[in-house]
C-alpha cells in the first residue's frame, strides 16, 4: 500500500510525458514565450508605458510556465507501448564452442 502510494507520488513529481507531448511542449514554450515578448514590446511601445510592457511580459511567462511545466493529460495522448515480450531463443542462434547458449 505504501509502495503504491510512493510510486504514484514519484510519477506525479517526475511528470513524464510521451514523445508527441514532448514535441508539443517544446513548440508551445517557444511560441508562447516568443509571443509574450513581442506583444510586451509592441503594446508597451504603442502605449508608451514601460510598466505595461513589464507586466505583459511577466504574465505571458507565468502562463507559459503553467501550460508547459505540469504533465497535463494532453501531453500523454500518444503513449508508446512496450514491445511485446518474445522468446529470445526463437530469434537468435548463439553458438559458443558448438554449444547453443541463447
Amino acid at each position: 500500500m505504501a509502495d503504491q502510494l510512493l510510486e504514484q507520488v514519484r510519477d506525479a513529481v517526475e511528470g513524464q510525458i510521451d514523445f508527441e507531448g514532448q514535441r508539443l511542449a517544446e513548440m508551445l514554450s517557444t511560441v508562447l514565450l516568443g509571443a509574450a515578448g513581442i506583444l510586451a514590446f509592441l503594446v508597451g511601445y504603442m502605449m508608451q508605458d514601460i510598466k505595461l510592457a513589464l507586466y505583459i511580459g511577466l504574465a505571458g511567462s507565468a502562463l507559459t510556465f503553467v501550460v508547459v511545466v505540469p504533465p497535463w493529460p494532453f501531453y500523454n495522448k500518444n503513449p508508446e507501448d512496450w514491445l511485446p515480450p518474445h522468446n529470445a531463443a526463437s530469434q537468435y542462434n548463439i553458438d559458443v564452442d558448438g554449444q547453443k547458449v541463447g
Partner: protein
C-alpha cells in the same frame, strides 16, 4: 522535455533569453525617439565673498554666489524608457594656466522624475511663479497632505532669479576678477533599461543637439565689490536637502518643552 524538471529548466532558460532580448529592444528604442532640447540661460546676479569651507576651518577662501534665470524645454528627453533626468547648472571658467582645461563647478541641480517613476521626496518640484504663498517645508506639506504639483509639464522649466544650491570656490581659493565665465546646462538621462546619456551639443541621428544651453560670458566681480547682505547670499536646499551628510551640520531639533 520528458520530465517536469527538464521542462522547468527549458522554459526558464528561454524566458531569460526573451527577457534580455526585449530589454535590449527597449534600450535601443531610446535612440529612435527624437530629442529637441532647448535652454535659455541668463545671469541674474553674481557676488564673490570671503568665507571658510566649514565652521572650524582657519582657511579663508573666495566663494562665488550666482543667481540665474533658466527657461528650458527638455520634455523630449522623457520617452517611455526614461526614469529620471539629473539636471545641473555648471559655471565654467578658464583655469589659471592655459595648458589646463577649464574649471567646472556645479551651482544648482535637480532630479526631474518622469511620469513612470514612483514618487520620491528627492524629486524636483517646480516652484509656482503665480503662487504668492510662502514656500512650505516638506514636513508642513506632508502634514497638510497636499501633494506638491509642478505648474508646468514634465521637462519644462521656467526659473526666475533662481538661487544657487551651492556656493562655489576654486582650488586656488581665489575667484574674484576671473573673466570669461559662462553658465552651462548639463544633464544625465537615466533610463529604466539601457545606457546613461549626457548632454549632447551635436546632432546625432534623430537627437538634435542642445539649443542654447550656455549663458553669455561674464566676469566674477572683485571680492566684496557689493556690500553683501546675508539675504543675497542665501542658497536653496533641494527637496533632497533633509538628508544628513557626513561632516555637514545636523538639522535643528525642536526644543523639548
Amino acid at each position: 522535455m520528458h520530465s517536469t524538471l527538464v521542462r522547468l529548466q527549458n522554459v526558464f532558460g528561454f524566458f531569460t533569453t526573451v527577457a534580455f532580448t526585449v530589454a535590449t529592444l527597449i534600450a535601443l528604442s531610446s535612440f529612435v525617439s527624437p530629442q529637441t532640447p532647448s535652454a535659455n540661460i541668463s545671469l541674474r546676479n553674481v557676488q564673490v565673498v570671503k568665507g571658510r569651507p566649514h565652521y572650524y576651518s582657519s582657511k579663508r577662501e573666495e566663494y562665488a554666489h550666482i543667481k540665474f534665470d533658466l527657461d528650458a524645454d527638455l520634455s523630449t528627453l522623457f520617452n517611455w524608457n526614461t526614469k529620471q533626468v539629473f539636471l545641473y547648472m555648471k559655471a565654467v571658467y578658464p583655469s589659471t594656466r592655459a595648458s589646463e582645461p577649464p574649471s567646472e563647478a556645479i551651482i544648482w541641480d535637480a532630479i526631474l522624475a518622469s511620469s513612470s517613476a514612483p514618487w520620491n521626496q528627492n524629486h524636483f518640484v517646480h516652484p509656482d511663479p503665480k503662487s504668492k504663498l510662502p514656500k512650505q517645508s516638506n514636513k508642513k506639506r506632508a502634514a497638510a497632505k497636499t501633494a506638491p504639483k509642478s505648474p508646468f509639464p514634465i521637462g519644462e522649466l521656467h526659473l526666475e532669479n533662481q538661487k544657487p544650491k551651492y556656493q562655489i570656490t576654486d582650488i586656488t581659493g581665489k575667484l574674484g576678477n576671473r573673466t570669461d565665465v559662462t553658465l552651462e546646462l548639463g544633464w544625465n538621462v537615466q533610463p529604466w533599461v539601457g545606457a546613461l546619456t549626457w548632454t549632447n551639443w551635436r546632432e546625432i541621428g534623430v537627437w538634435k543637439g542642445l539649443q542654447g544651453g550656455r549663458s553669455k560670458a561674464f566676469a566674477f566681480p572683485e571680492v566684496g565689490a557689493k556690500a553683501a547682505r546675508p539675504k543675497d547670499l542665501e542658497t536653496e536646499k533641494g527637496s533632497e536637502g533633509h538628508r544628513l551628510v557626513v561632516g555637514e551640520e545636523v538639522p535643528l531639533k525642536k526644543a523639548v518643552v
